[in-house]
């Protein structure tokens, strides 16, 4: 009962339903010795299966090119070549002839040989081609065994899809209206599954590592896309709890609709903050309007670079950034430059594997070492800046020198564009993502050379408390309410105010009910968060007076422990909010 699996919360929402495990159809193939008179028949069956598979892949390729674009369809060229591979085909035929075995057996044996070879390759990317070969071979075997590959198109009941990973060919045929959610073993925030889940508005938990090995088709599964939790075979009690939670969320979502067009102004009208959206994929853009986001406080650009073998060129980036700029114009878009580890880009011998990836060669450090990549991105952002209200934000700045070096490259990019006669916003604001403790400690220095700060609390907390969130043994030490963290925040905000620059927050803390109003009290100008959380935070801010928020903010930094801080904030919320508002805003997890 209640087998709990944790993963990455990739797309929000809660769903309960039967599991449907895919990608695991292992066809059992038995060896049959055939009379030599049957050899031509077996060879004919093989050729027939290859032709049918070819047709299937070609039509799939067309569909995907239409739905998702030519790039996604290209991989099928390689799949088609496998079917035409004469070495493979001859090997199968010679086994049938010489060993007088059935075609299914001969084919599986040949494929197995290749998979064995591939799995010995050192190169991870080449090794991954096993997935493609398995995909093709399953199709061929399905034809041979007359088992149409269990077509996902035929899913009739509402189900939660459990898969190792979903390929574009899987998702292309999924009957979208019957899918309640996705759970996958692998994949990160930018995987294909996540894109689809978000555009469908259904929950997804990815990177669970063991979903397919622990969940079986037909089993009831609860998927909580907010917390990143999957519960297989839940007890009646747990199902009831989640049904309640779901009901409350639905009700709350409805009542939040009114906040869409309202500003986040405190009850005493003393202060109004911006509530913006954190965005990664273009598919998420409609969510900003839907939930009433005021522009984009964090536009992550990594998706353009990940999961691809080739770097995106300036033109591709320019188009992506322009689209985003235009879609929320005149509201702002804070474009965060590439925040990613160097190991994602370069072949292995050049760089050692980082022992501590969060302390390693990534983000601005990588970008400064690779001005070619960095400048291309900045040229693209600058060019897109004429299409809307763009701001540039550098991630992981640890001191003013890095900021200066990054700005130097930005100036070079500007000079180039000017010489080429290409238009851009000369006054484009340049800011820092405040996420390294040393930057927080020197915020007064940095503020003199930046146009704004946006606090990235996830990393700031991790770095300042020296806690790796991913490590279960120490995760309990990850406390946003730690007085050390609160004091750093206070210091950053104060430095920004004293230097008359704008300061926001794009980390998770900004959207936590417990903290958002305290942060407003501390003086933040903006809170940026995943769009679905916006209405709740707007409502909360509108229910509290600025004078109270300020008082609470001044009080919390004097307390000694995170627990004391949390207790104090909760007690204050109980006092400051009406009972029904409290119950609604504070839906218990």
């Amino acid at each position: 009962m209640n087998r709990k699996i944790k993963g990455i919360p990739a797309s929000g929402g809660i769903a309960v339903g039967p599991a449907y495990c895919i990608g695991k159809e292992e066809y059992s193939v038995t060896k049959v010795t055939i009379p030599s008179s049957d050899i031509p028949t077996e060879i004919f069956r093989f050729e027939d299966a290859l032709i049918k598979t070819r047709k299937e892949i070609v039509s799939l390729q067309k569909k995907i090119a239409q739905d998702l674009g030519f790039d996604h369809a290209q991989i099928f060229d390689a799949h088609l070549l496998v079917l035409e591979d004469r070495v493979l085909v001859e090997d199968v035929i010679s086994q049938i002839r010489n060993h007088r075995v059935n075609v299914e057996f001969a084919f599986s044996q040949s494929i197995k040989k290749y998979i064995d070879t591939f799995s010995k390759l050192e190169d991870e990317y080449l090794k991954e081609r096993i997935i493609d070969i398995n995909d093709v071979s399953r199709r061929v075997l399905a034809k041979l065994l007359n088992k149409e590959k269990v077509s996902l198109a035929q899913i009739k009941d509402k189900t939660i899809i459990i898969a190792h990973d979903l390929s574009p060919s899987d998702t292309a045929v999924l009957p979208k209206k019957n899918i309640l959610g996705f759970v996958t073993d692998i994949g990160g925030m930018t995987s294909h599954t996540v894109i689809i889940a978000r555009s469908l508005g259904i929950p997804a938990v990815v990177g669970t590592q063991r979903a397919t090995s622990t969940i079986t088709t037909g089993e009831t599964v609860i998927i909580d896309g907010v917390e990143g939790v999957v519960i297989a075979n839940p007890s009646e009690k747990v199902i009831r709890e989640y049904a309640e939670k779901l009901k409350r969320e639905k009700k709350a979502t409805k009542s939040y609709a009114v906040y869409k067009h309202l500003k986040a102004e405190t009850r005493d009208k003393e202060r109004c903050v911006e509530v913006a959206a954190n965005i990664e994929l273009p598919e998420e853009l409609p969510l900003i309007e839907e939930f009433g986001g005021e522009g984009i406080g964090l536009y992550r650009t990594e998706y353009l670079f990940l999961g691809k073998k080739d770097l995106p060129d300036e033109e591709e980036q320019y188009k992506a950034y322009s689209l985003v700029a235009e879609s929320v114009r005149p509201a702002k878009v804070i474009v965060r430059t590439l925040d990613i580890g160097g190991d994602k880009f370069l072949s292995r011998p050049e760089i050692p594997h980082d022992m501590h990836p969060f302390l390693g060669w990534r983000a601005i450090r990588f970008c400064l070492a690779r001005p070619d990549i960095f400048k291309t991105q900045m040229r693209a952002i600058l060019r897109a800046s004429v299409h809307g209200n763009l701001k540039i934000m550098f991630p992981m700045i640890s001191g003013v020198e890095e900021l200066r070096n990054a700005k130097k490259l930005l100036h070079q990019a500007k000079d180039e564009l000017r010489k080429e006669g290409i238009r851009y916003d000369e006054q484009i604001p340049v800011g820092i993502m405040m996420e390294v403790p040393s930057a927080a400690m020197t915020a007064d220095i940095l503020a003199k050379e930046s146009d704004f700060f946006s606090i990235g609390t996830n990393d700031l907390i991790q770095y300042s408390l020296a806690v790796d969130r991913g490590n279960e043994k120490v995760a309990y030490l990850y406390e946003p309410a730690h007085p050390g963290v609160l004091r750093l925040l206070q210091q950053i905000i104060r430095a920004a105010k004293e230097n008359n620059i704008w300061v926001g927050m794009c980390g998770e803390m900004a959207s936590e009910v417990m903290f958002s109003f305290v942060l407003v009290g501390m003086g933040l100008d903006e809170l940026s968060m995943p769009p679905p959380r916006i209405p709740k935070i707007k409502k909360l801010i509108r229910s509290i007076c600025f004078s109270d928020a300020k008082r609470v903010a001044e009080e919390v930094v004097k307390l000694s422990t995170a627990k004391e801080v949390e207790r104090y904030i909760l007690a204050q919320l109980r006092e400051l909010l009406k009972k029904e508002d409290l119950a609604e805003i504070f839906i218990k997890q």
Binding site: D77, A78, R86, D310, S347, P349
Partner: protein, 94 residues
């Protein structure tokens, strides 16, 4: 290496994989598609392994990473032309 005059020529060329991701799916697919346009028998050799260049499975199983040195051998009437075109694909760095 034999001259162009003879009808059936044999060409042997050394080539270094420049693409930083090695001979991965896309260039391999392009390579195999191109190889299949020619009549010449074409093989690739790496570390004493020899594979049919017209077979994608064989090609990928070579595990030709960035920087690996391959020999391309083409034999047939259009060997010279085939070798030239194929080397271009292998030497492309993207």
């Amino acid at each position: 290496m034999e001259g162009k005059k003879s009808k059936v020529s044999k060409v042997k060329k050394e080539v270094v994989i420049k693409n930083k991701y090695g001979l991965h799916a896309r260039p391999a697919a392009l390579f195999v598609q191109t190889a299949n346009k020619f009549d010449a028998a074409i093989t690739l050799h790496k570390d004493g392994q020899e594979v049919d260049a017209k077979s994608i499975m064989s090609l990928l199983s070579l595990g030709a990473e960035s920087g690996s040195v391959l020999y391309l051998v083409a034999e047939g009437e259009d060997a010279e032309e085939a070798a030239q075109e194929l080397i271009k694909i292998l030497e492309k760095d993207e």
